[in-house]
Symmetry: C2
Subunit: 444 residues, 2 copies
């Protein structure tokens, strides 16, 4: 990397931790070409914030750099109509019309992601005519996509010609000879997550977008999809951590906004978890008679939560990648019941060894019992409960994402803390019920 | 989408849930062009499994389709030297030499990701000469990248010419006039995660790879990076769920392998969590005298775990995106202590209201105390402990990823279950210590 690109890179890398003022300062230190590259590479919220630091004349200069799809994203950052109009007013008349059309699409659908500019060819052209025609288009408009789209008189997509194949075409060949006649294309209302799957599955660099009648409306490019995938992944991970997704980098979010993003889920989980106190109140009599039981409560309850969070995370990711579909629920449930049973058996063995060994060592050292005279029954209670709790945790954890998806909610909301909270109450009931049975007539 | 692409798409989409036999069957039903597209789009493990179902003559046909970088990935799927040699033997002599060179690079570094084939130009060429020279190269070799790389006599990278700019160049122009003279490039040993950041930051479609002397060795393309990003995301999410990353789709992993991937972490967490029993044994006397204390144990302990998993997930993702660096640890700690205090206060208020309200309602209905005569002191104990536990959870959760990174471990290992287990033991100690102080002389 040359020192020039490094400077622009370094500024971009440091962006999230700089103050708005430091950003503008760094930005104005860059050479013109470097600054343009950086501005185009910034996310729309970052562009918006940077512009807010400039005077209107400077703003206009930078806003006009953007492709229509990026300009539309920028305009959508404005929270009030006034700022939106102000930004729209800075655009060229023709670009403004394109941006207005783009704003009609949902931001996270194909129509909202696409660039409405692309290079076109007519099917009846020869290769030489096509190159001459393209040359004129390129001089008017720079687009990142190195494909030309072959449209008929009704603007319907007939095929795609990579520039590579046009360059290597023999002079006598026609556009229809070199074009790929069956290109993958998507409808304008397709969701961005599905589009990212299509990109990954077909190893694409660009994907044409069609309206309901098959007219070509624009092109989505691989670099935009990388941003989409990163943003969706951040959202998933934040949800998996049991909170609302943050839209801004961690260090840029104010302390109050941070609390607001987190307190909601934390309070819901707290209220859910408070049912453990209710459940335990039912067993207060048993807990009073056998205090030794309470010693193992966190251990048992958390084992259910842990196995549940393994299961839910696996299914959430498998769903996001399209590896598991709604109708696979029964196969998954059977698998998880089996896996949960095996995992529970392993933990039960560890628990048996741990309790018996501790008791033995304690007695050898202190000549007094640690877990009481019925320590073998206590160990059996803990072990048997573990099998039940881990199996139940795995089953609940794997079914929750299916349930959420069936109700058209985001499966990623089945976070580790959420699953743990759900499993905690039932885990307690399993444990204390097993104890009532096993210890009946001895401790209880 | 035409019906043809749908068929290939549908087969690709169903791939993870099909048996090896069903896959081969579906594959042989596709037309030749469709089958080629599908084969090239499959991941290396899927290609390897599909080939295993074919006879050697058919295998050779498909292996020869692959670009050298993909062929190298395929060869790396073989577990024994014999299969590896068998696959290498199917390649053309020249491709075999390239694959051998690629195998020397780490699979997840730039050198392992790049395609060693690319289009070249010499700086002294005119635009017309360049197009004629490119035409010859394209007829010999199809590469997905629509850029030509300008190399000097020592194979050092001087610049990049997009095909677009070559097409629109005036006849008299030289390659050096139209080339981008300062292209972003990466060294061959750069890690794939860092490369994906560079792609995202610069909105790139292709990235040249240089050796230590600046010689151009190959090109990494955006479609490969999308696969890398998806694979890294899966790994992160599985780690966050508290398990080893699975390398295969959920439904394709055998039940025994599934247990093996999950039992390790589950057992470690279990042993860690078993210290809660040890910690509680120290307070057995208090627990026996005030059984009401044990009712709130799961509630308090899980609140610490939940706030901790929020904090750790935030920092893990912020680190992965480059928004937080090691040296930001103090800013983060201060933020989280503050946020944790605020969150703890909110939960404390909910707890106070909840305990006092329940007690009041219970007394009104049953004319007997629910949480005993000192219920106000119990409520104060729970509320005060919550503030301490949530603050401690947030702090521990946010510092753990820093600690892991400082020791060059993956911050994503600071999963919700791991953080919860760490925080559980200390949460118990905080709660029962607060209780000893607040309830001294009354309940204890």
């Amino acid at each position: 990397m040359t020192s020039d690109t490094l400077t622009r890179s370094e500024l971009h890398e440091a962006w999230p931790v700089l103050t708005p003022h430091e950003r503008l300062e760094g930005f104005s230190l860059l050479g013109r070409a470097q600054a343009e590259d950086l501005f185009e590479a910034l996310s729309s919220p970052s562009q918006f914030e940077l512009l807010a630091e400039m005077d209107p004349q400077e703003q206009r200069l930078w806003v006009r750099l953007l492709d229509p799809d990026d300009a539309a994203d920028l305009v959508q950052q404005a929270e009030d109509a006034e700022t939106r109009d102000h930004l729209m007013g800075m655009l060229d008349k023709s670009v403004r019309a394109q941006v207005t059309a783009l704003l009609a699409y949902a931001e996270d659908a194909a129509g909202g992601l696409m660039n409405p500019n692309f290079y076109r060819l007519r099917p009846e052209m020869s290769a030489d005519e096509a190159i001459a025609y393209l040359r004129r288009q390129i001089r008017e408009l720079i687009v990142a996509v190195h494909y030309a789209y072959v449209l008929d008189a009704q603007q319907k997509l007939l095929g795609v010609v990579p520039f590579r194949d046009l360059i290597s075409a023999a002079p006598g060949q026609h556009v229809t000879d070199v074009m790929n006649a069956k290109p993958v294309a998507v409808p304008a209302d397709m969701d961005q997550e599905e589009i990212s799957h299509i990109f990954a599955r077909h190893d694409l660099f660009a994907l044409p977008v069609l309206d309901a009648e098959g007219h070509m409306k624009g092109v989505i490019t691989a670099d935009d999809i990388l941003d989409v995938v990163n943003a969706e992944h951040t959202e998933d991970i934040h949800k998996l951590g049991g909170m609302s997704a943050l839209e801004r980098p961690y260090l840029q979010l104010g302390p109050l906004a941070m609390v607001r993003k987190r307190v909601g889920w934390l309070a819901i989980l707290f209220v859910g978890e408070s049912f453990t106190a209710t459940a335990m109140a039912f067993f207060e009599h048993e807990l009073a008679r056998a205090v030794v039981l309470s010693l193992f409560i966190p251990l048992i309850v958390s084992s259910g939560g842990n196995s549940g969070s393994q299961a839910s995370t696996l299914i959430i990711r498998a769903m996001a990648l399209g590896h598991v579909r709604l109708r696979d629920w029964f196969r998954v449930a059977r698998r998880e019941a089996l896996t949960g049973f095996a995992l529970g058996m392993v933990l039960a063995c560890i628990a048996l060894v741990r309790i018996l060994a501790w008791e033995y060592l304690y007695r050898a050292a202190r000549h007094a019992p640690l877990y009481g005279e019925h320590y073998v029954l206590v160990a059996v209670t803990v072990a048997a409960s573990l099998i039940g709790v881990v199996m139940w945790g795995s089953l609940a954890g794997c079914m929750l994402p299916f349930l959420l998806r069936a109700f058209r909610l985001d499966p990623a909301s089945a976070s580790a803390p959420f699953v743990a909270t759900l499993v905690d109450v039932s885990g307690l009931v399993i444990y204390l019920s097993v104890a009532s049975v096993v210890l009946h007539g001895t401790l209880l």
